[in-house]
Subunit: 136 residues, 4 copies
């Protein structure tokens, strides 16, 4: 059994390129919107994180593009939190259109302080994410 | 009495800049998302337009920025269609956060064919937009 | 006689949309790149501005789109500073491809402090911009 | 001995986010600008590719973010072509600021036709890329 957070994304003209498809770097933006909404759905948000001196930055991201998406499509971003370390959070994201996988992302986030140094991720928050949107 | 279409927009990290506010050109993107959703709400969409050989392009846009918006804000784009010509469509858009106006846009769209030449705007569609989301 | 700053801009896939042309909000980005380079060419830069507690924000922008631009085009942004007030700076920008005007922008910038309040524009800097890249 | 193509990239306000650093998805855009310029430097361009019925799309991309970049920085994108298959092209890209590595990308491109089907990559062109900007 799997649990994950879902966010629908409508494709607008701004997201497309001259080949008639979604420009690939937008998938990273869609994925961050989805992680942000997953966080919000459990009562967290990036501004309160910032107020506590934490921000989440991308340490690495593996993007696989499997099929093109087009203007007017509705995609769904499925976000699953995999595991947490002292400062890192690993996330698997799949972007689908109905039954077809459009793209997958494997993201490693790191928690840093305002000086840019790695800092301890709030363990309670990380556990709630894993409980709600983790593998089971 | 006024009628207009409304679209909520959440501000994500991608929308902000190093001054901590929404980067101004994003307001043009938000405005186009709102026009697209207004169109969809009356049964139209840009892909079916394209299939009929029409696309709407920006002829001009006046953007006024009145107050900054920030990460995590929820803005509302209010879209009102003002008048139509043979090939043009004039739209007033206001972006607000609760009671505060963040930005206003006055947009003139033109209908063009696949060769980029001005072409007659579908009058029936334009009238429906004005009826639903025009001044009254 | 006119003087202005010029910046060439190559059009990449990221700048285009599914209609095969440059997506309109990118012209605002290109225009800001050009203003930034005009500033740099006289020895200024946005980071040193920020260190002095000033930043330039867009108060208003009038964009006119006259002809489409496409992938691989080289555009030229011509930037002319028109006049300065105590806190504002007015700029006219024309984006051309060879002899053809692609877009024009009339931009009003305001100088603000870190609290977002209007603050006096550095008069010496503004005069140098007008001398180098103003009407004569 | 290594050979690679280099492209300088100036960081503008549009590239930054509210944490004061370059928003991560922009590195994918910078990387594509660099691949496009590497191609142009050997006499190729994406429009002539398109006219021959070919386009290069991203099949996968591994992004590692090692250090933040900021407003006004000048980055350098170093692009090295690694190997070609019948339809694929593998590219290693490193984004540096002076002696510091900001980000690395491992990109696999695929050549597709206007119907989106994989199509044979022009072998002559691929060999010229490898000769000029490949490992030696």
């Amino acid at each position: 059994m799997k649990t994950y957070h879902t966010l629908p994304i409508r494709i607008y003209t701004e997201d497309t390129d001259c080949y008639g498809i979604v420009y690939h770097s937008n998938y990273l933006n869609f994925a961050e919107r989805a992680r942000t909404e997953a966080l919000r759905s459990i009562g967290g948000n990036l501004v309160s994180f910032q107020e506590k001196g934490m921000r989440l930055v991308i340490r690495s991201c593996v993007l696989n593009c499997l099929a093109p998406a087009c203007l007017n499509d509705v995609l769904e971003v499925r976000t699953q939190f995999k595991k947490t370390g002292r400062v890192t959070l690993e996330v698997s994201q799949v972007i689908v259109r109905e039954d077809q996988t459009i793209a997958t992302l494997e993201v490693v986030l790191a928690c840093i302080n305002p000086l840019g140094k790695p800092t301890r991720l709030d363990a309670e928050f990380a556990n709630i994410l894993l409980t709600h949107f983790g593998e089971s």
